[in-house]
Amino acid sequence: MLTLRSITKGRKIGTGHLFMGVPALILILVAAFPISLIFIQSVISEAGTLTTGFLERIFEVKSNYMSLINTLSISLLTVFFTILIGCPLAWVVTRTDMPFKGVFKTLFIVPYMIPPFIGAIAWGFLLSPRTGFVNKWLMALFNSSTPPFNIYTYSGVVFVMSLYFYPYVFITVAGALERMDPSLEEAARNAGANRFRVVKDITLPSVAPSIAAGALLVFIAACSNFGIPALIGSEGRVYVLTTRIFFYIYSGGFEGLQMASSLSIFLVITSALALLANRWYLRNKQFTIIAGKSMRPNLILLGKYRIPFFIGCCLFTFSTMFAPLLCIVLISLLKAYGVDIAWKNFTLENFRFILFEYDLTRASIWNSIKLSLTAATFLTIMGSLIAYIIVRTKLTGRRILEFLSTLPYSIPGTVLAIGMILAFSGKFGINFYNTIWILLIAYTARYMAFAVKSVGASLEQVHMSLEEAARISGAGWGRTFRDIVVPLVKPGLIAAWFLAFMPMLRELTVSVLLYGPETRTIGVAVYELQDAGYYDTAAALATCVLIVIFAGNFLLKRITGGEFGF
């Protein structure tokens, strides 16, 4: 009785708060504490006095502030190009009568599922100045000796980022276009505006807040990304904050850690500023022209442009998704990197090697599976508990719990990793550095938000009266939870597990800073192999990752009846 009251009403401190205290304590330990250490570390000197040393460390070293400027400018350019790509694509699949637009709607989201570092590897294979397929093919075609493209440049980084981050804009804008009230546009037509005038005066301003929301996601993804700048930028000496932080952690020592955490501060500030800019932009755009329910939007009849639009979309899909993925798969099947693509050169030897022979890849696969299984299971359980507290109870402090659970995902992964190093490498009596535990903690903290969000969304679908009906039928709180709540949120639970498991299986940004000699993960292994020039082996491992991702997504979609997955 007391339990019920405290859980469902909770105006008093009681069992309900104990019930909330456990996840809160864990979150403080694995999220709030490590992250706040970064700030403390930066402003406190070795002697223990307050210092502004972190500012000097950035601005006295040219390559440091260059990396800050690069991070900002690359991210802004990426935002610009993703809007340029994402908006027209969203418009084409939601508002025109182009053939197969439903298929394209799914295809355009594919880059969202592909790990950016694998995309970076693929584009390297295609556009590397010396060995890139496209370059070799064009040089042969025009009988030239200078390669036309070089991916290993500043613009190469922007290019690859734009191709892998535009789905953020695409998804938000397509959603808004689908839910927009068609009568708003019809009214403009009545007022005398032609089709294009309506797009300019009504449609675009209406979806502007959604474009801004997508742009914010792109900006944060771009400035926190490690894989693309590491594999594309570093080769051409283009450094950003994440790659500089990586450099400092590997240079080692107190000095290196000090530098890395100082740079982390700037990474956090950069993404926080983006968030504030977004708030400011949206401050008086709270109009609700986007209706909640799905409407039948007005379709623009393309007429004679139907086929050209269709061909355009095919070409885009082929060149930006199909070609790079195909390229990775082909290289993974080749006897050696650089031989001609011909039947006689195909073999499965690379796969046999990485799966059954090579200790480095075998250990990394095993580590990643162990880590992802454990972390996904643990965070699904804990995330569900947190989601239940947030959605269903009125406990004071539940908003703080929500904030804590989403914090580790809302900051760049690099920053979280630095926090982990500061908190768990012996300074406070716990030394997990170079062990699997530090990775497990980091993974759990980082992807907790996924479980809280997807279970929370499912819970919100379950009307309170369904639980009350069970209570009035004689079931106690626990019995109601078991008989009613759990079965009804099952799709959310499964989705939470998968949504955390799949990105963890190929995680790179956090792992690359936390792995030890015995705890290499799949992402790290692919990165190292590629970096060391074992292209065929890296491609084979990347192919395995891609297969698991597509299979997992397909499985998730089947199990949840299409509610989750793409």
Binding site: M1, S473, G474
Partner: protein, 350 residues
Amino acid sequence: MAGVRLVGIKKQFGDVVAVDQFSVDIADGEFVSFLGPSGCGKTTTLRMVAGFDMPTAGDIYIGDTLMSSVEQKRFDPPEKRNIGMVFQNYAVWPHMTVFANIGYPLKIKKEKRSTIKDKVEYNLALVGLEGFGERYPHQLSGGQQQRVALARALIMNPEVMLLDEPLSNLDAKLREEMRFEIKDLQKKTGVTITYVTHDQAEAMVMSDRIVVMDNGYIQQIDSPREIYENPANKFVADFIGLTNFVECEVISRDTVLLKDGTGSHKVKAHIPSGIGEEAVLSVRPENIEIAEKGGDIKGVVRRTVYLGNMIDYRIGVGDVELRVEKDAEEVFPEGSEVKLRFKKSFIFSL
């Protein structure tokens, strides 16, 4: 079976008082509706009886058992109250079959499988859903889901049934049908029913007594007829049925002067206000007589609407417009001058 007794119930959410000074004694087997506009506190009161909300003050008895008392620090959770409840959105569990939904309360009580089967069959028949046991809720219409919810509430043989606007999601025709079915079910089972609604017709048709509520307070508790014919105050007169309000001044113990200045008008009703005070007169459209001459009040017919069995008049009296309903035998054309007489009216103090 048992009655329900609420004594001095108060519910406060933060600074907002949702219900206050609520006392009612519902007899065993009685059908009582809580009627009022949205936000009047009727659902909150029902949820306190169910045990989903805890009163800020007051006691709740079901039969002779004290279920909730702030003073005695007693609060039985919903599952211990043996109450059947039907929710506005049915709350039929989507992951269970009709059979499993209805049988759930018995499963909790750990009854034998064969007993559960018999009782579910019986209750399915009671609500007219024979043969629907193996279906899932998404295969049923709204009306059928509502019947499942009713059967699930009835199967536990509850002391009391609480119905929270159970018909508001149904279409008009089905709603009328269900009113009689619910009333029939109550006659068959003899269960005490507390019914929450904002639809006065629903309350009028089904209830033995109606509790009219506004702004958290009880306005009147009476039979449907009493409430219509002798409303306790201006709110009740306005909320139940149609009425005309005319501002007036009390000039003697049984006479008021209408504010439009067309003349004094004698009323038989008890006048609560003192002489010389401002008040408001309420007269229902069917209680106004129209004649070419002879009445007390002069008016002009502004608009007539023919409704088949009667005519709906708008009659201007000074600067006030009165609505009058009269049979269609004699028609007063628009623009004609008429005399009005109030057969029955009430004076409410402001």
